[in-house]
């Protein structure tokens, strides 16, 4: 198999066409100097050839230090010239990629003007080096409003720790937009100094600035964790998780406590479990769940008895997430909870970490639940259980015990595809209890293999009439699963069987398998002395997967002495005409349908013919449909068919 697929894969790979030779933007149409000269007068609406050439050159040459230097020198000169703003904007984009400290003076000058400051920052923000930071800081006191906010933002993005004192001052300044930006920048910088600055000024702010400062302080703590300073971060999270802080800040801080403190955070998170705000309480539970160790499992388990229903649901979910098997008794206990949602959460958790001990509990719950949701949840959990011994426990419970529990275990075996359950299911298929027998036969469809066919045939041959259909379905499903499944045992059983109903079932199984070697057997059934077998033969041939039995069915439709068999055979014939047939033209198919139409005496068969006509659009099909429009019993269907055929013909 592996080799065969690799051949397919290699065939596919052989179609690969090399994609080399493509270039970003294609080859530039101008030289660097030509493009830059053109750019000096560029305005929105002008031809973009210079922009595009320049961009391609800058990208292509950016790996070479020498070429970067040459280009940068030219760009600096350009920015000092009287070039248009639109042209200078383009150059700033290129300096973002290749600029060095050499560009800092000219870009710093541009920071002074509201019109050029943003694009100067566009370049400066991504140019490495302390000279950039120094220049930006130098412009802080020389600017105000939107320009100053931009510079602050850039200092934050660059994480310039030397800007902290100036930013700290600005947080408490009179311009709220500047103050908020300064607070945010301190959060971005995220050094111990920035965190301290926020600690110092945060409580002196209010409104939007305070909201920004709170978020920044939280982000600064996150940054400290990333730097490895968990202790410093923990202290901040502790402060921000306290009652009185805004709810969202507390939520963020509780996460931080768990991340930075681990087990040290447990007492604080346990305290937050008592919070009045459900979201804060939920976060405390959630974050406790991330901390490993038996003490947290114990804490959450103990909390169940005093928690309200919502908290109980969340605790169960958290315990489930932790995957600590020690919590199993909590789930078992919660199955008796008076609140449905809690019981559902318990079932969900058991499905995740229950393992072998949960098999019987879940089967019993599924068998006895009065709420459909609870029964479904128990079944899903049972199906999902993993771990050593789960399948063995499912199989072990099938042979005996309460019938409803056995039924649930058989359902689980089917859903899990537990092939080891097949012997027990074959035995249960003969159980005195009908519900058990029926479920066993259903489960066999999913657990049995084609090699079990003879055992299932044996069940079918001895099945009570009420179970025969289920046995037939099981046998069909198992044998249809593989193209190499043996049909011989089915034919042999049919030929040696004397019970007519069993023989009819075996004919149906042969039809579902659709094997060439069964066809003579099915044809012989049409001549059987028993009407029941003849009828089963017609139905089986009608289900055949290819048009091969069409002549057999047509003969019965035309001339059988039993009118009911004529109708059955005609229906089967019409179905087979509709199957794909290699080499048969639409006109040829229309001729077959025309004959079927002439044999049809009832509207149902006529409608079946009309429904097929649009699949075979040709003038002959149209003619059949138009003729049928005169028949009042199918006039509507005939018109619809005619319209569809006409549309198809018109599209050609």
């Amino acid at each position: 198999m592996r080799t065969a697929v690799f051949i397919v894969w290699l065939l596919t790979a052989a179609l690969v066409v090399p994609s080399a030779g493509q270039e970003a933007g294609g080859p530039p149409s101008m030289s660097f100097d030509e493009a830059l000269a053109k750019l000096a007068t560029y305005e929105v609406g002008h031809d973009r050839a210079a922009l595009i050439s320049l961009q391609a050159i800058v990208y292509r040459e950016s790996a070479s230090p020498e070429k970067r230097k040459t280009m940068e020198t030219a760009f600096i000169k350009f920015l000092e010239s009287n070039a248009t703003r639109a042209g200078k904007d383009q150059v700033c984009r290129h300096l973002m990629l290749i600029g060095s400290t050499a560009s800092v003076p000219v870009l710093t000058k541009m920071l002074g003007s509201e019109e050029t400051a943003d694009m100067a920052r566009y370049a400066l923000e991504r140019i490495p080096g302390a000279a950039v930071d120094k220049a930006l800081r130098s412009m802080l006191p020389k600017t105000k409003g939107r320009v100053q906010v931009g510079i602050i933002n850039t200092l934050g993005q660059r994480k310039d720790n030397l800007a902290v004192p100036a930013l700290r001052t600005l947080v408490t300044g009179s311009d709220a937009a500047v103050a908020a930006a300064a607070a945010a920048a301190l959060g971005d910088i995220g050094t111990p100094q920035a965190a301290k600055a926020l600690a110092d000024v945060r409580l002196k702010t209010s409104g939007a600035v305070r909201a920004e400062a709170d978020d920044a302080y939280l982000r600064a703590a996150d940054a400290l964790v990333a730097r490895g300073d968990k202790k410093g971060a923990f202290a901040i999270y502790k402060q921000l998780s306290a009652p009185g802080e805004p709810e969202m800040i507390r939520i963020g801080a509780l996460r931080g406590l768990a991340v930075s403190g681990g087990k040290d955070a447990v007492p604080l998170l346990a305290e937050a479990l008592k919070a009045a705000e459900p979201a804060v309480q939920a976060q405390a539970i959630r974050q406790l769940a991330t901390i490993q160790g038996p003490e947290v499992t114990k804490l959450l388990s103990e909390r169940m008895s005093s928690a309200d229903a919502l908290a109980r649901v969340r605790i169960l979910a958290a315990l489930s997430d932790r995957g600590d098997a020690a919590a199993q008794p909590v789930f078992v206990n919660a199955l008796k909870d008076s609140t449905l949602e809690v019981r559902l959460a318990a079932l969900e958790g058991m499905g995740r970490l229950g393992g072998r001990p949960a098999v019987r509990i879940l089967a019993e719950t599924a068998a006895t639940a009065t709420e459909a949701a609870e029964q479904n949840a128990a079944r899903e959990a049972l199906n999902r259980l993993t771990g050593e011994g789960v399948d063995e426990a499912v199989v072990a419970g099938i042979p005996e015990g309460d019938a409803k529990v056995r039924v649930e275990l058989m359902r689980a075996a089917a859903a899990r595809g537990t092939s080891a359950a097949t012997p027990a299911l074959l035995q249960a298929a003969r159980d005195p209890d009908r519900t058990v027998r029926r479920e066993a036969l259903r489960a066999l469809r999913d657990t049995a293999a084609p090699s079990d066919a003879e055992a299932i045939i044996a069940v079918l041959r001895t099945a009570q009439s009420a179970d025969r259909r289920e046995a037939e379905r099981a046998l069909s499903a198992v044998l249809a699963r593989s193209e190499s499944a043996p049909v011989a045992p089915v034919i042999s059983a049919y030929q040696s069987e004397t019970n007519t109903a069993v023989r009819a079932s075996l004919l149906q199984v042969m039809a579902q398998m659709g094997r060439e070697e069964s066809l003579p057997v099915l044809r012989s059934a049409l001549k059987d002395s028993s009407d029941e077998i003849r009828r089963a033969g017609i139905l089986a041939l009608s289900e055949w997967p290819t048009p091969a039995p069409m002549p057999d069915l047509l003969a019965i439709a035309k001339g059988d002495s039993n009118p009911a068999f004529q109708i059955l055979a005609l229906r089967g014939y019409i179905r087979l005409v509709g199957l794909p047939a290699a080499g048969r033209s639409a006109s040829a198919t229309a001729a077959l349908l025309e004959e079927a139409m002439s044999l049809a005496k009832q509207p149902d068969e006529k409608k079946a013919v009309l429904a097929l006509l649009p699949k075979f659009p040709c003038p002959e099909s149209l003619k059949i449909a138009e003729a049928a429009m005169k028949d009042a019993s199918v006039a509507n269907e005939a018109k619809l068919a005619a319209d569809r055929v006409r549309r198809s013909l018109a599209q050609r």
Binding site: V16, S19, A184, R286
Partner: protein, 432 residues
């Protein structure tokens, strides 16, 4: 139990609650409804408004758009649905997000706005259905990911192929080894045809009722022209990566990450070539980006026309992905699947095998996640990493060199110029 209590922030509780308890089986009490605001109601956004209005447990109360005409039209649709005049409109998303009665938002603005609005929404404790992509730079992807995790809100990216049965089946087949070891994923995304050149337009005054300054937001200033703010914006690099990401590509990159088991990581090496538009549009319209992952999987992301030249399966139909394993292959598109061997199409994944979240409706999955605290199917990690893959391709293509990537540091290895392209400075006063 007060069901509305489920709606508060804090994600992560994997509990199953029946539809009855979720309040969507039949009539839903007003107090149990998820109150939503819609931000960005153009073509994609207005479709989401219609979609969320059909959910019985949602009440839409606010619309935000910088185009008055669009927001008024969306508001009228909402009011007509509820038969009242209860829907408010906003030009500025911050005013909408400041409303404490809103539980969740839908964000479908132009892409350069996604991260900023998303971060503010997270800070305000709003759950968000968030149109793709997550942002227009790696820095944005990281910032929104941090904010969502910090504040524990539900985040669903609009990569709805994960809620399609064929894609889910594909993923489960691969995760359970049905095609053996996954070796290569080939993607044929939208794109491939350059189309006619767009003529240049002179600078103009923005029309009445359109807040152009707000539309530009954090992107560099450029004079207004009508073409820029039409659907063409999707093909301008200041606002996204075009077909490579937000204009389709991220859909299939997202699936590639999913099936490769790489939702929590990114490739370690990327090589890409492409052809770029040369008018107001400046993104790639045709490309081949080859990514190599630490687990040995290769993802080859192409436009469909290029993909057709590389694997015969792409001739089956439109945009699609093909997953090649050591024992078979799977072709999957929005039109369905084809497999080799063919029986894989009908293979049943057993309950105790590896499964992904079952979602048949992406919006519904988002709403259910708000109530159940389960992670939605297109979660924040998948969203961030998926976009990083596209960004790696774009940068490699522009610089014309193979780039190595450190998935832990989330930056390029030994390539300072490439690393400069991981973030974009924002126009004041906007900041990440």
């Amino acid at each position: 139990m007060q069901r509305r209590q489920f709606l508060g922030a804090v994600l992560g509780f994997p509990m199953i609650v029946p539809a009855r308890a979720l309040g969507r089986a039949g009539a839903v009490a007003p107090s149990d409804k998820i109150v939503m605001g819609m931000i960005g109601v153009g073509g994609m956004g207005s479709g989401h408004v219609r979609g969320f209005l059909q959910q019985p447990d949602v009440r839409v109360v606010a619309i935000c758009d910088v185009r008055k005409e669009a927001r008024d039209k969306a508001r009228d649709m909402v009011d007509a649905r509820y038969g009242d005049k209860g829907c408010a409109t906003y030009n500025d998303f911050r005013e909408l997000l400041a409303r404490t009665d809103i539980d969740a938002v839908m964000i479908a603005t132009p892409e350069h706005w996604h991260a900023l609005i998303g971060i503010e929404a997270a800070r305000r404790g709003k759950h968000m259905y968030y149109e793709k992509p997550i942002g227009v730079s790696v820095a944005e992807a990281k910032a929104i990911r941090e904010a969502v995790k910090r504040y524990g809100v539900v985040f669903q990216l609009g990569t709805q192929q994960r809620s399609d049965r064929a894609y889910r089946h594909t993923c489960e087949l691969i995760l359970n080894g049905r095609i053996g070891e996954l070796k290569t994923v080939m993607i044929g995304s939208a794109g491939g045809n350059r189309g006619p050149r767009i003529p240049e337009e002179p600078a103009q005054k923005p029309p009445e009722g359109f807040d152009y300054d707000m539309w530009l937001g954090p992107a560099p200033w450029v004079d207004y022209t009508p073409e820029r703010v039409s659907r063409t914006w999707m093909m301008i690099h200041d606002y996204g990566l075009g077909c490579l990401s937000g204009a389709w590509g991220i859909h299939d990159v997202d699936i590639a990450q999913w099936v490769a088991g790489c939702d929590d990581t990114t490739p370690i090496e990327t090589e890409a070539t492409g052809l770029f538009y040369d008018d107001i549009r400046d993104v790639a319209y045709s490309w081949t980006a080859e990514h190599r992952y630490a687990n040995g999987v290769r993802v080859i992301h192409m436009d469909l026309e290029t993909a057709k030249k590389r694997a015969q399966q792409f001739h089956f139909g439109g945009m699609a992905s093909v997953m090649f394993g050591t024992e078979g292959w799977i072709y999957v598109s929005r039109q369905g699947m084809r497999t080799h061997p063919e029986r894989l199409m009908h293979e049943i994944i057993k309950p105790h095998e590896k499964k992904v979240i079952k979602s048949d409706n992406h919006r519904r999955n988002f709403l259910d996640a708000i109530r159940t605290r389960q992670q939605p199917i297109s979660n924040i990690d998948a969203a961030a990493h998926g976009e990083m893959v596209c960004q790696q391709a774009d940068i490699a293509m522009r610089l014309g060199r193979k780039l190595r990537w450190d998935p832990v540091k989330e930056e390029f290895v030994d390539d300072p110029e490439a690393n400069r392209m991981l973030a974009r400075s924002m126009r004041s006063p906007w900041r990440l």
